[in-house]
């Protein structure tokens, strides 16, 4: 069962350098041949690229990722929604972002097929070297009443 006391838990800030090679690797994995990613020295990040925060957050140490505090059951947990907001053009390779995540919400809803669903929301803010808020990521996870793969 997810822990609703996790709301407000804030992780330590983590560094996320935006790198050209990583953007090309991500473009390849998402089947993009867009010259904006492949032919520019300082390509912009693709729309879902900030998901790579997981790598930087993991290596920054436990304290950087407040998601652990939610204690969502991994076997009954699923990714429900994900949102990226850019306050202006997307950040480019060569920029070093600083990210910081917080647990914004934990709430429950009755599922359409019965059983209680527990949702948890984590917001990550990304700032550039000048401290300007350039992007936000909003992760919504859900814990179902049954194991997702189980037939009911």
């Amino acid at each position: 069962m997810a822990n609703s006391a996790a709301v407000g838990t804030t992780g330590e800030a983590f560094i996320m350098p935006i790198e050209r090679g990583k953007i090309m690797e991500f473009a390849a994995a998402t089947r993009s041949r867009n010259p904006a990613y492949w032919e520019q020295e300082r390509p912009p990040v693709p729309p879902t690229f900030l998901t790579t925060q997981m790598f930087w957050q993991e290596w920054a140490g436990e304290g950087a990722n407040p998601w652990h505090a939610v204690e969502l059951n991994q076997k009954r947990g699923m990714h429900a929604e994900q949102e990226y907001i850019f306050h202006g053009p997307p950040p480019q390779a060569g920029t070093t972002l600083t990210g910081q995540s917080r647990i914004a919400d934990v709430y429950q809803k009755e599922g359409r097929r019965g059983g209680t669903l527990t949702f948890a929301v984590m917001i990550t803010e990304f700032r550039d070297e000048s401290g300007r808020l350039v992007a936000e990521a909003r992760l919504t996870g859900v814990e179902t009443a049954q194991v997702p793969g189980e037939s009911v």
């Binding site: 867009n34 904006a36 729309p47 907001i85 793969g149």
Partner: protein
């Protein structure tokens, strides 16, 4: 066209769909490595079975990434302002995914013209696996 859309609420279909598949286990592993999300549910048979699945399932963010590729080619990589993803159905290795979208609204934002699009990534069965609501800046 902007004015027409504003006044009539016309829906405009995007470019031809991006079709990707059949999805291999390697496609999934490549995406996981690139993204940094190494959840074993998407590549580890033993882990997936213990979690109640018959086999490792694809990762939802790969479908979202394909929709991002489609939308960036259509409306411009630098123009992305908002990308909201909802995961609707599970995707499995062997599936063929078809990504397309429609322009639903053009309007004036605080920093210039914006366009809202709705995107869908469908399995070969027609079932929608991933839905996206996105906003792009429009060139003046």
């Amino acid at each position: 066209m902007t004015k027409e859309l504003l006044t009539t609420g016309l829906v405009t279909t995007g470019p031809p769909p991006l079709v990707f598949g059949p999805l291999s286990r390697t496609d999934i592993v490549r995406y996981q490595g690139a993204s940094g999300d190494m959840n074993p549910l998407h590549h580890d048979e033993i882990f997936a079975r213990a979690a109640g699945y018959d086999a490792p399932l694809a990762i939802g963010m790969l479908g979202a990434g394909l929709l991002a590729t489609y939308a960036a080619d259509w409306l411009g990589a630098d123009n992305i302002r908002r990308f909201r993803i909802r995961f609707m159905a599970q995707v499995w290795p062997g599936d063929t995914l078809t990504c397309d979208g429609t322009l639903v609204r053009e309007y004036e934002g605080p920093d210039g013209p914006l366009a809202d699009v709705e995107l869908a990534c469908k399995r070969q069965t027609g079932e929608i696996a991933v839905r996206v609501w996105a906003t792009f800046a429009r060139e003046n």
